[in-house]
Structures are given as C-alpha cells and as structure tokens.
Symmetry: C2
Subunit: 124 residues, 2 copies
C-alpha cells in the first residue's frame, strides 16, 4: 500500500508543497553553490520581493534545510547556507532537472501535436 498521498498532511504532500514552491527551489539551487548573504540571494534570484525572500528563507530554515547565521557587526551581515538535509534535497532537485532535460522534447512534441489537433477541430 502506498503512503496516502490523498491526505493533505502526509509527508509526500509536504515535500510536494516545498518542491512546488518556485522561490524555495531557487534558493536551494543557489545555496547549493555555496554560502550567500541576503542581498546576494535577492540579486541572484531575479524578481523576488523582499517579502517573499524572507518568507521563503524562514520556511526553509524552519524545516532544517538551511541555516541562518547572524554576524553581530555593523553593518549587519547574515549568511545563509544549505544544511546536510538541504543538500540531500538538492540531490532530488538535480534528479528532476535530469528528467526534465531528458524528456522535455517528448513533452514539447506532444504539446505541438495536441495543439495542432485542437486547432484543426476548432477551425472547421
């Protein structure tokens, strides 16, 4: 018997929520390259608002996927880094990238075929 993915609070679903969150994934990918400061992340991840960046970072920190280190200096300096758990999650994301690269052409071909068919029907 499978884990019950039909229930919203099962582990798989919680993971899916994370993976499905674009900003979370982007942060993880960026931090996989190494430690980054808040502003570096903001600059690197184009289009993210301070609100969403903070929210995302807090969520990842809460889940034990990243660490947040405050250096008590002026001006303030805050470093974010992937934990071991975070790295293992990143491995998953790499797996997704691999799949996407391998199969994206099939998907695009399918879309083209599908759209052509639909258009054929609506055109007649």
């Amino acid at each position: 018997m499978q884990p019950n993915v039909y229930e919203a609070n099962c582990p798989s679903r919680q993971l899916l929520d994370r993976i499905g969150d674009t900003w979370s994934v982007l942060v993880v990918v960026t931090l996989a390259e190494g430690i980054h400061r808040y502003t570096e992340l903001a600059k690197r991840i184009e289009g993210v608002s301070p609100k969403m960046l903070t929210q995302t970072l807090r969520g990842l920190e809460r889940d034990g996927l990243i660490t947040r280190t405050v250096h008590p200096v002026v001006p303030p300096r805050v470093d974010y880094a992937l934990t071991e758990l975070g790295h293992s999650l990143y491995a998953l994301v790499e797996g997704l990238e691999k799949w996407a690269e391998t199969h994206i052409e099939d998907v695009q071909a399918a879309r083209a075929a599908y759209d052509a068919t639909v258009q054929a029907y609506s055109a007649k």
Copy 2:
C-alpha cells in the same frame, strides 16, 4: 554550468510547475494503478471539482503524460491511462515519496526545535 532555472521557461521550471500541481500529481499516482474513468478519478481523488479535474486531465493529455480514450457508446465512457512518458514521471514521484518518508522525521524535528525557539523569544 547548470540549466538556467532562473528563467521561467526552462525545462526544469515547466516540470516543477507540474510537480507542484497537487491535482496533476494525484491523477498520475492514481492512474499508475491502472486505467480509470472520469467518474472513478473524481471519486478517488477526494475534493476535486469537475472543473479542476477536467483542466488537469487536459493539461496532462496535452503534455503526453496520459491518454484519453472516448468510447462511442451510450452512456458515454471515457478512459484515462498513463503513457510511457507518464510512467517515467511517476517513477520520479515515487522518488520524491521515498525521500519524504526517509527525511520527514528530520524535518519535523527541525520544525519543533525552530518553533520552540521562536516561542521562547516571543514569550519573554
């Protein structure tokens, strides 16, 4: 160099959108068990509205992940099944489930620790 996940239209991002879509994942998981009719899916996937179910099915069909077979009988009968591509995607989802099961305890422990800390601060 990594694929540029920072661009919204890169393959990885398109896959992420699918994986992040709860209904799509549930449909794929359900169809992994075998062919299902529309109503069967609706019943199996609790809480899904006809609108979302149809929308999800169309999207998956367009991407070549499932097939839709209409039997010209009365009353109508429509079968949905996973394609080969769909099965390979399901393999990915199984990988996610595996990760979730393996690491969920770490995540929950991290959350508990984080919440305890936050509460300690706001309580003082």
